[in-house]
């Protein structure tokens, strides 16, 4: 058996299968999307002239711009909620729980629901949020409301509730990882140097977990920006974000517009990631 040395010409062949797959499944389709989004004229053909017409029409429509804003708003809201919730959960699991057995049990309870697909979990919220759903029945039973609250299902509140449950783990996971890399002695050392628990967190723990927080925020941002399934199932036809707009245009065979929105969505997401990388060098993680 011969050895493939790192950096040798042969070693590059190892990258070929993955590279070929990425090229065919990601790079080429993305370039196609980009190309189609610039197609002008009336006919939908490869012979179309390349123009900015599609983009101009998109940006001159106030409703579409409003959708871009509300998508960003939804992403920001989710980042704030899942960030806070996820950090608290991570901190509790890693720092507060003393028993290793409980930690494993709760961590599994937390993670196992994520083994099912996002779509299934989104649909599972419908019986909870509906007019005769679990939440309303519980509220009526407890006497907290006399008539069922309709605002849960087919509303942004319902969408947000479902998305929080879907994406909190994405925010918590990287923080759990970062918290685990912090030796308990650091916290103790800070305390013997007269730092109170909150100061220990603010000056020692939080800075050391910041990369995890940022990565979690990036994951939540990307997922909310791209989420159309939750919005479609929980929001019915009443609510839409950019992702749903792509789907709408696609179903209406307006592929040029679908491409425009898809490209814009991609640009927004890339910008978000670029911003995050300016805050934290993800490549230095674990170093």
């Amino acid at each position: 058996m011969s050895t493939i040395r790192p950096g040798s010409p042969t070693s590059y062949w190892l990258a070929v299968p993955a590279a070929a797959w990425m090229l065919a499944a990601v790079v080429v389709p993305t370039l196609l999307l980009l190309w189609v989004s610039f197609w002008g004229g009336r006919a939908f053909s490869t012979a179309s002239p390349l123009t900015f017409d599609n983009y101009i029409r998109f940006f001159s429509n106030g409703a579409y711009l409003g959708l871009v804003l509300s998508t960003f708003g939804q992403a920001a809201l989710l980042m704030a909620i899942t960030g806070t919730l996820g950090y608290s959960i991570a901190y509790f699991l890693v720092v507060k729980l003393q028993s290793a057995r409980w930690r494993t049990a709760l961590f599994l309870a937390f993670v196992i629901p994520f083994w099912t697909s996002t779509l299934i979990r989104a649909i599972a919220w419908v019986p909870f949020l509906g007019v005769n759903g679990v939440i309303n029945q519980a509220l009526i039973f407890l006497g907290l409301t006399s008539a069922p609250i309709e605002a849960f299902l087919y509303s942004m509140a319902g969408i947000t509730m479902a998305q929080v449950s879907l994406y909190t783990m994405l925010a918590a996971g990287p923080v759990v990882y970062m918290l685990n890399t912090i030796p308990p002695a650091l916290r103790e050392a800070a305390m013997t140097l007269k730092a109170t628990p909150f100061t220990v967190w603010r000056r020692i723990i939080f800075p050391l977990t910041l990369p995890g927080v940022v990565i979690g925020q990036v994951l939540v941002f990307l997922n909310v920006m791209a989420d159309f399934a939750t919005v479609a199932t929980i929001g019915g036809n009443k609510h839409a974000l950019l992702g749903n707009l792509v789907l709408n245009f696609y179903e209406g065979s307006q592929l040029r517009f679908a491409s425009v929105v898809a490209v814009l969505l991609m640009v927004c997401m890339l910008a978000g990631v670029a911003l995050a990388l300016r805050v934290v060098d993800i490549r230095k993680l674990g170093a």
Partner: protein, 363 residues
């Protein structure tokens, strides 16, 4: 060293500290008094409770029972940040995201000192620890010895009443330790801060400590100046744990002229009885230091054994001969000076020791 009236106020007092984890007792009734500016070494094998005791003093563990007084003030339930202590951790516990200067200033920041004072004080400390060039470096880029200095500077800069040190030089190269030990001893004497130093290394404990506290199985076996612990081990554990002791076990016989006769597997010996009161036939133990063993004893030496030399070890200042006695137990005989070995392996020799050189252990 401050003496006399200053010693009346203790830096630290432990009264019957007890700490249990489930069914495991980590510390079982430890009491200790540390005078002003003393260097105390907690010595014992791993799991003996020395680190738990230290953590109780720091406030990182809360004892189930007992009182802790620092500078005469009861602090038993207080958290670490309310105690007049600083601590140096085994792996130094440096903050990876802070520069050396920031790190050393952290304790002063927590005390709410003004920024200008912190900067001046940090530079002063960096200079006195000879780490000024490291001021802007992060811990990851420091060597073990440099980390040790930074950790020490970080703890000392706050000028606590007591500095707690958990195996502070255990992570250093062996060649560095001797130098660092001397530096720390001098530093402790200059600063007047009490050091509570946890170690499993008796060389550290005996060369540094004003007071050595030997612990085993969650209890204090013996505490006293190093000379006393070396010369007069109080229990068979201490005698066995401290290097260079030969421990014998046997049955007590009669006391004649202040000497207790002890019958063992390898013969009968006379040991100063002291305050010994146990009935004849009781199981007792005594020890005699390896350097007190006499080669070819004359008739006046009444404690005698015969052994076969099984090994000769060379420790630099000491050459140790290990001899096997009639019952298979080993006897150590130390010879000072780098002389040629007294015996060769396999040789059968007569050895002995004077009765007054043996130490009877507490039952």
């Amino acid at each position: 060293m401050p003496e006399g009236p200053l010693l009346t106020q203790l830096d630290l007092e432990l009264r019957g500290i007890r700490k249990r984890y489930g069914s495991f007792t980590a510390v079982d009734g430890v009491s200790l008094e540390v005078g002003k500016g003393q260097f105390v070494c907690l010595l014992g094998p791993s799991g003996c409770g020395k680190t738990t005791t230290l953590r109780c003093i720091a406030g990182l563990e809360e004892p189930d029972d007992g009182d802790i007084l620092i500078g005469g003030r009861e602090v038993t339930g207080d958290p670490p940040w309310k105690r007049d202590i600083a601590m140096m951790f085994q792996d130094f516990a440096l903050f990876p995201h802070m520069s050396v200067a920031k790190q050393i200033g952290f304790g002063l920041e927590m005390q709410g000192r003004p920024r200008a004072e912190i900067e001046a004080r940090v530079r002063e400390v960096l200079a006195s620890f000879e780490i000024l060039p490291l001021a802007d470096r992060r811990p990851a880029s420091l060597s073990g010895g440099q980390k040790q200095r930074v950790a020490l500077a970080r703890a000392m800069v706050t000028e606590p009443r007591i500095l707690l040190l958990d195996e502070p030089i255990g992570a250093l190269d062996y060649s560095l330790r001797e130098t660092v030990m001397l530096e720390l001893k001098l530093l402790q004497q200059r600063s007047g801060i009490s050091f509570i130093w946890v170690t499993h290394d008796q060389n550290e404990a005996f060369s540094l400590g004003d007071l050595v506290v030997v612990m085993n199985h969650a209890r204090i076996e013996q505490q006293g100046p190093p000379e006393e612990i070396l010369a007069r081990p109080r229990t068979p554990f201490v005698a066995g744990f401290v290097q260079g002791n030969n421990v014998f076990r046997g049955k007590a016989g009669a006391i004649e002229a202040g000497l207790l006769r002890i019958v063992t597997e390898v013969g009968e010996f006379l040991v100063p009885a002291g305050a010994h009161t146990a009935a004849p036939g009781a199981l007792v133990s005594f020890s005699v230091r390896a350097e007190r063993i006499i080669d070819q004893p004359d008739a006046a030496v009444r404690n005698r054994v015969t052994g076969r030399c099984t090994a000769v070890e060379f420790f630099g200042a000491v050459r140790r001969h290990v001899l096997e006695l009639a019952d298979g137990s080993l006897l150590k005989y130390d010879q000072f000076g780098a002389l040629a070995p007294r015996f060769v392996t396999g040789q059968v020799v007569d050895l002995g020791w004077r009765a007054e050189d043996a130490v009877l252990h507490a039952p």
